[in-house]
């Protein structure tokens, strides 16, 4: 079975833990966590990831800047990116999609939706 790697970028430990719990249901997925955009860039430079899930609102470097940086990175420019937004932040969502994000999930996060989105983007049965 092919193994995929996922990077979760989320400043809230609670949301990170919830995402890790949700994605533990996807058998072939190895999950790495990052606290913010800068931490994410460090981890992206060190390893190759098959999918990236990032929150929009984060300190130090927010999700929008991170999406822009990832899309200009030779290694990860094609890597699917899922952004986490709130229903109200439609502008941020549109901006993230314009910058190259592939999909979005709205809060409050439901584990089955996260799993479905990741499987869809990684084309996992």
């Amino acid at each position: 079975m092919a193994e995929y790697s996922c990077l979760i970028v989320e400043d809230s430990p609670m949301m990170r833990q919830l995402l890790v719990f949700a994605l533990a249901r996807v058998k072939s997925l190895r999950v790495t966590e990052a606290d913010d955009g800068v931490d994410a860039l460090r981890k992206l430079a060190a390893s190759r990831f098959d999918i990236i899930i990032t929150d929009i609102n984060m300190p130090i470097m927010d999700g929008l800047k991170l999406v822009k940086r990832i899309r200009s990175d030779q290694v990860h420019k094609e890597t699917p990116i899922v952004i986490i937004t709130t229903e109200g932040s439609q502008e941020d969502r549109q901006r993230a999609l314009q910058l190259g994000a592939n999909a979005y999930i709205t809060k409050p996060i439901q584990a089955p939706q996260v799993i479905a989105k990741v499987k869809e983007l990684l084309k996992i049965e």
Partner: protein, 295 residues
């Protein structure tokens, strides 16, 4: 009577002989002609009989083929009938399998949802008790309400002193100056505080207001109520509370105060002392012996 002259007699005999010969030839010719005719007749008869035989053989073959094809058709019809029965049986089995599959799929989805719900509750409980700072616990409570429940406007009330009113310890989405004061037994909030019975408003939780909260949850410490968790309104995408929201609110109602107290005790402890040092003063350790020598 006089005898005919000899020459004349001889001539007559020749004539008679000629006539006889002619008669014999005619007879023979007629005989052979008849024979030829008879032979020809026989040959014709034989040819006709042969043709008839051929015709009958063909007819026979045709009839045999007809009978055989009739049998084949009957056999085919029998097979079709058997196949129809088999098809019905297979369709019935397929429907049964489909029903079982649908049931299993529903059961699988239900289990998946249950697991997701349990994960939510686990994470909530874990995070609630992870902080050793009262501010951190309050922040976790706010995060849980906003990010797990989908609350947009809410407040956490605490009773700091017995028989006194409740104070607002934290809030989100509302100005604290708008929040009502809570006295035990007074108003909707005060009644929940006194009775200890949670209040859940029917209808769309997005349409709640400060005067009409969508949920009021008593925060318990053993058999006492030490505070309230009040949700005034949910986020736009939160159309209704689901089962896990109610479970989560129950969990917060049961664990929030003990998490706050634990964090408060920890932060009040002498930072120079090991965190568990006071356990020896409580007399709960067996014999008070040190089992692992300190190096």
């Amino acid at each position: 009577m006089s005898e005919p002259p000899a020459g004349k007699t001889q001539k007559s005999e020749e004539i008679a002989r000629e006539e006889l010969k002619k008669e014999r030839d005619d007879f023979l010719k007629a005989f052979f002609r008849k024979g030829v005719e008879l032979t020809e007749e026989l040959v014709r008869e034989r040819d006709l009989a042969r043709q008839r035989l051929l015709f009958l053989e063909e007819e026979n073959a045709r009839l045999r083929a007809q009978v055989a094809s009739g049998d084949a058709i009957r056999e085919l019809l029998r097979k079709i009938e058997a196949l129809e029965i088999e098809k019905e049986r297979v369709l019935h089995q397929f429907q049964e399998v489909q029903v079982a599959s649908t049931r299993q799929h529903a059961s699988f989805s239900e289990i998946e949802n249950e697991l997701a719900n349990l994960a939510n509750l686990y994470v909530a409980s874990y995070q609630l008790h992870a902080s050793l700072d009262p501010r951190g616990v309050l922040q976790t409570l706010k995060d849980l309400l906003a990010q797990f429940i989908g609350a947009e406007a809410f407040a956490i009330y605490l009773q700091l002193q017995e028989n006194e009113g409740l104070i607002v310890a934290a809030s989100e989405g509302v100005s604290e100056s708008e929040l009502p004061l809570v006295q035990p037994g007074q108003g909707m909030l005060g009644e929940v505080f006194t009775s200890g019975r949670a209040h859940h408003r029917d209808g769309d939780p997005r349409l709640g207001a400060i005067s009409d909260p969508v949920a009021i949850i008593p925060l318990r410490l053993r058999d006492k109520i030490a505070g309230l968790l009040v949700i005034f309104r949910t986020l736009e995408q939160k159309h209704a509370f689901i089962q896990v929201d109610h479970e989560l609110l129950k969990l917060l109602g049961a664990q929030a105060i003990s998490a706050l107290i634990a964090a408060q005790l920890f932060s009040a402890q002498d930072a120079n002392q090991p965190p568990l040092s006071s356990l020896s003063d409580l007399g709960i350790l067996s014999h008070g012996r040190v089992l692992v020598p300190h190096r």
